[in-house]
Amino acid sequence: MMKIEVTSIQILRLVLGFMISVTVAYITASITQSLFVLDGLKGVGADISTSVYLQTIWHDIYGLSWGGYTSYGRNILLAFAVAMPVASLVCHFMKMPKSLIFPLAGSVAMATLLFVVKVNYFYNMDFYAGTRSYFGYLSQLFAGALGGLTFTLITRKSS
């Protein structure tokens, strides 16, 4: 009875950890995407106030979550659904630290996602405009790493 209870908590923690890590990755990715787009507009003379920043960030968090095959939210969810279990296996069998492997898996998930969308759906063009620059692209990998790290922190066993 006790064993079943512990397993349920573990499953709950895994599911919760997964959902929160996807949310963290998505929101970070969306916000940084917006910031790089706005930075591009500022670079050509647009005056962007704080309220416009906030309005854009809010709009894009919503806007990027829709769109069928190209929904950023959906794609991050799918990418993490593959990356996190694979990272788990790597940690288990290769005895590697979770705090390294899960963030790395998050980054790889984002890189793969961006590549697949670019090649399959968009004639080899950057589908998410905020990823056009080198640092814009890195910011998305960072978002993935942050998601992976969140997953590690939530699912780690309490000592």
Binding site: G43, V52, M125
Partner: protein, 379 residues
């Protein structure tokens, strides 16, 4: 008592509504019956893009695959025009685009072709002038090459129209990845440029570049413009451009003006995120028509003495995604009326032209069945 009456009253209104609907529906349908007839002019085209009528009755037609074809007496000649300049063709976006005649074509036989030049990782929109004689091009000269070279194949644009002073307007796309360059006057991306018929920069162009020279830029802040037209009667230049997800525009161009892209747009990015949070912005020109969601305008012509006298002066714009021809009436710079035409054909319209006979010629882009059809009103 009121409980008894109410359902009866509702039933009465419901039945009345249905009856009125039945009476009105045939009238609406009758009005929508196409009052025109079509005939296929030519079929079997391969990625057609633009066409132009020659004074001798022939039609020159471009295929994006890099061929300039001749239609003579309603027949597509198997032998394409020889002597075309070198161009970059990628099978999707890049290749041969527009063809226009010099305003004094009958005297000098000059035609102008727009196309992509370079290679996949370094290309640009280029315009060449050539003398068209006896089905071949001679004396081919480059009159414009966009700069800087770009490493994207998307959105090259390259549509042409002559002004009465024999200067040539050229639409140049923003290069897709480089949309902010549409606001950079040192770059030709996202611009309408103006050159003389031999490729020089007119002295009355509105901008001077950083080097202190006159710039080819005539207007800026454009995305991908697949149609530009000069109306000699009202001395107006119309240009339409494709937005991303929404934000297709019809603009009236005035020299030196900023048309906003990407700072001001009614569209959002394909991803659903903002291209810009601004739909309009100080010192940018608003379109006279915004089409959101996108219908992908491609090609523009105007009824001047066409077979539909009631449409005199109206603009006709082909729609790729919208799969129709859009009639737009503009009065004093304001679009006052729009009508969807030929929607029932269900075809992607790549270009439109009124012929010398006043009929509307519509270029249809369809896999395996691209063609040009001739449309005239039912007498």
């Amino acid at each position: 008592m009121s409980y008894d009456v109410l359902p009866v009253r509702r039933l009465f209104f419901f039945v009345s509504f249905i009856l009125i609907g039945m009476l009105v529906t045939p009238w609406i349908n009758a009005d929508q019956i196409p009052k025109y007839q079509t005939e296929n002019l030519v079929e079997g085209l391969n990625d057609p893009y633009a066409f132009v009528f020659l004074p001798d009755g022939d039609i020159l037609l471009t295929e994006k695959t890099g061929k300039l074809r001749i239609i003579r007496d309603g027949v597509l000649l198997s032998q394409p025009v020889n002597g075309l300049p070198e161009m970059f063709i990628d099978g999707k976006y890049c290749g041969l685009f527009d063809v226009v005649l010099h305003p004094r074509f009958e005297e000098n036989h000059y035609i102008y072709l727009s196309f992509t030049f370079g290679r996949k990782d370094a290309n640009a929109t280029r315009v060449a002038r050539a003398r068209y004689v006896d089905g071949r091009l001679d004396d081919v000269t480059t009159v414009f090459t966009g700069f800087p070279l770009k490493d994207t194949i998307n959105g090259p644009a390259g549509h042409l129209t002559f002004l009465p002073d024999e200067t040539l307007l050229i639409t140049v796309g923003d290069g897709f990845r480089y949309r902010e360059k549409a606001q950079d006057l040192e770059s030709m991306l996202g611009k309408v440029v103006r050159i003389t018929d031999d490729g020089k920069i007119p002295l009355n162009n509105p901008f001077i570049n950083k080097a202190g020279d006159r710039s080819p830029v005539w207007t800026y802040g454009h995305r991908i413009s697949l149609g530009i037209l000069y109306d000699p009667v009202t001395n107006t230049i119309y240009e339409h451009e494709n937005g991303p997800k929404g934000g297709d525009e019809l603009n009236i161009l005035k020299p030196g003006k900023n048309y906003g892209w990407p700072i001001a747009t009614y569209g959002v990015d394909y991803s659903g995120a903002y291209v810009s949070p601004f739909q309009d912005y100080p010192n940018t020109e608003k379109p006279i028509v915004d089409w959101t969601p996108s219908i992908a305008p491609a090609g523009i012509t105007q009824c001047r003495g066409c077979l539909w006298s009631e449409w005199e002066g109206d603009l006709f714009i082909g729609m790729l995604a919208g799969q129709h021809v859009r009639r737009v009436r503009v009065d004093n710079g304001v679009a006052t009326h729009q009508e969807v035409l030929f929607k029932e054909m269900g075809e992607r319209i790549r270009n439109v032209q009124f012929g010398p006979d006043g009929a509307l010629y519509v270029m249809i882009e369809s896999i395996g069945n691209s063609r040009v059809i001739r449309i005239e009103p039912l007498s």
